[in-house]
Symmetry: C2
Subunit: 345 residues, 2 copies
């Protein structure tokens, strides 16, 4: 499935090779890649996408906008030089909240940015207008839609459950970014609205992420186990402070009451959120990905059961639930594809 | 606001007048209208839309597909004759569940239809391919988006609370119909998933419609009042069997405990559903309409409070909540507009 992600080297290229640079700027890693063959990949076969050059590094300690922008500038110039071509569109998949189409960052918890005109700074640094900044989950969704597990379907909902929960929407063959660029924040839809609602890092309470996001689930379990709850997960993990959702899942598979009770509480919340989004959007493909669900098969089964119960039957009729197919490079691929579509002229 | 809906007469027309026929086939009424000036209305001013002819009648007792299709055929031929023009696109706004783009009716509770190839039958009856069948709420939403309270915004969510709850979505300037044509069924998103979940006419339980749809709210209140609950609404209405949501709202405005408790339970459910849809779709306009909310101002206030509490703050930033502007003719206008866009060639 991931064949096209294997890098292949070419000496120099021309713009007829359908080139774009994709950058995935997350909380920990900075990945960048120069892709060619975008038109062919889209029209014929995803394996036609060629990685001409790529680089990966840690974001590191210096995270002020000036430093990050300069570093991205150097990275982009290197990749452009590798192609012998200076007119390549550049897309950045960005982990943070954007506003509008110009790449204005409202906030990024990872980089500790607030109100940074990131897109403008990048365009100035590169002296080039062909630079787009996109929400990182939207970029991943667009990659899956274009070349991955949702390939060629016009209506796709993608949900990624890792430390948090992110989403991406394709409707009528378009990436849906919303009026101010913050559509698809499915992790912050509310599932509990009474006084018991758990607090979320977004500042509100009762978000589904605060129940089923890996970070929250892990912290809650460790807290409850430290407070006296008993679970097989502790011996599987080798200590309370090592327990993660995967250990809870292994314990659940062996009939552990604590883990099963926890899953019985939280799985229906995520399942219902997914069902409600499918009822609203009627996608043909629901793509599930992210670091947690693939390592928690019992939890995922419970989620899918709850989804089946709550979904509007006509919307369920032709729904296919699929795993994300592109893995870790979906971010750079998606950012490159989005930039290519917007800035190839 | 509704000036353009006032009919104006013209003798004969040509296709340069940008004509389309819109039909609104509901559970009670059959409305049909011939509109002209669609291009001008869209490009300059909604008041440029002219109603050349219109007709309204009851759907009546004979609701089998053959009878309804023949009757629609006669209606359309009359309207086409009024324009002296036989190449006019025809749109039907249909209260029922459709599948695909061809107008296949999966079911219509009002007409008691199941699996009827309505679009094909209509095209055969009219010997014309320029006939589109659309979900009635989608047609209304498209009219509001194009010429009404959401005019010219690219991202619009419309929610209509009447006897039931229906929705319509515009995203990226497109009507979102979903993979099988049943998107936007916001009334059937689930708000209660435990054993107490109320049954819905859709066959499932816990749908927001089963709590806040006018039919359900009224039936529940009458049942509880007949069972011994006490409310001012009874004297306002002149008897338990006359109580409707508007009476409950008037009682709530006067501090009636029963009505206030009921609203305190159900308003947050609808408010949260609206907030979650806005969090997911990030529209610039949330259009509220339908027969109930305009007559239940106290309930609506409670709903809007709950919406404000639960919405993802960045999605709330530029959200405008507006009333539907086009009234009862939005259905024929929207069906005509959709048909015009799809079949003017």
């Amino acid at each position: 499935m991931n064949d096209f992600l294997e890098g292949q080297s070419k000496p120099t290229t021309t713009s007829s090779d359908a080139l774009a640079i994709g950058i995935d700027l997350g909380g920990t890693n900075l990945r960048a890649a120069l892709y060619a063959g975008i038109d062919d990949a889209r029209q014929t076969d995803a394996s036609a996408l060629v990685t001409l050059a790529e680089a990966s590094s840690k974001v590191g300690e210096s995270r002020d906008p000036t430093t990050v922008v300069r570093r991205l500038g150097e990275q982009v110039r290197e990749l452009k030089a590798a192609a012998g071509n200076s007119t390549i569109p550049v897309g950045i998949g960005f982990a943070g909240m954007l506003e509008g189409k110009g790449g204005f960052v409202v906030n990024s918890p990872h980089l500790h940015w607030n109100d940074v005109p990131f897109g403008r700074l990048l365009r100035e640094e590169l002296a080039d207008e062909r630079v787009g900044v996109f929400n990182d989950v939207n970029a991943v969704t667009f990659a899956e839609y274009t070349l991955g597990s949702g390939a060629r379907a016009d209506d796709v909902l993608a949900v990624f459950v890792g430390t948090g929960i992110g989403g991406g929407l394709i409707a009528g063959g378009q990436l849906i970014e919303g009026a101010t660029g913050c559509a698809a924040e499915i992790g912050h839809t509310k599932v509990v609205i009474d006084e018991s609602a758990r607090p979320c890092a977004c500042g509100l309470r009762g978000c589904v992420e605060a129940y089923v996001g890996g970070h929250y689930l892990q912290r809650r379990a460790r807290g409850e186990l430290a407070g006296g709850a008993r679970s097989l997960a502790v011996s599987i993990a080798g200590g309370i402070e090592k327990v993660n959702p995967s250990h809870l899942d292994k314990a659940a598979a062996r009939g552990d009451d604590y883990s099963l009770d926890l899953f019985a509480e939280v799985a229906p919340l995520l399942g219902t959120v997914l069902a409600n989004a499918v009822t609203l959007l009627n996608p043909s493909h629901l793509i599930l990905g992210g670091g947690m669900l693939s390592r928690t098969p019992v939890l995922r089964d419970h989620v899918e059961c709850a989804l089946e119960v709550a979904i509007n039957p006509p919307a369920a009729k032709q729904l296919t639930i699929v795993d994300a197919a592109l893995g870790g490079r979906a971010g750079t691929v998606g950012a490159a594809l989005l930039a290519y579509d917007r800035y190839s002229y």
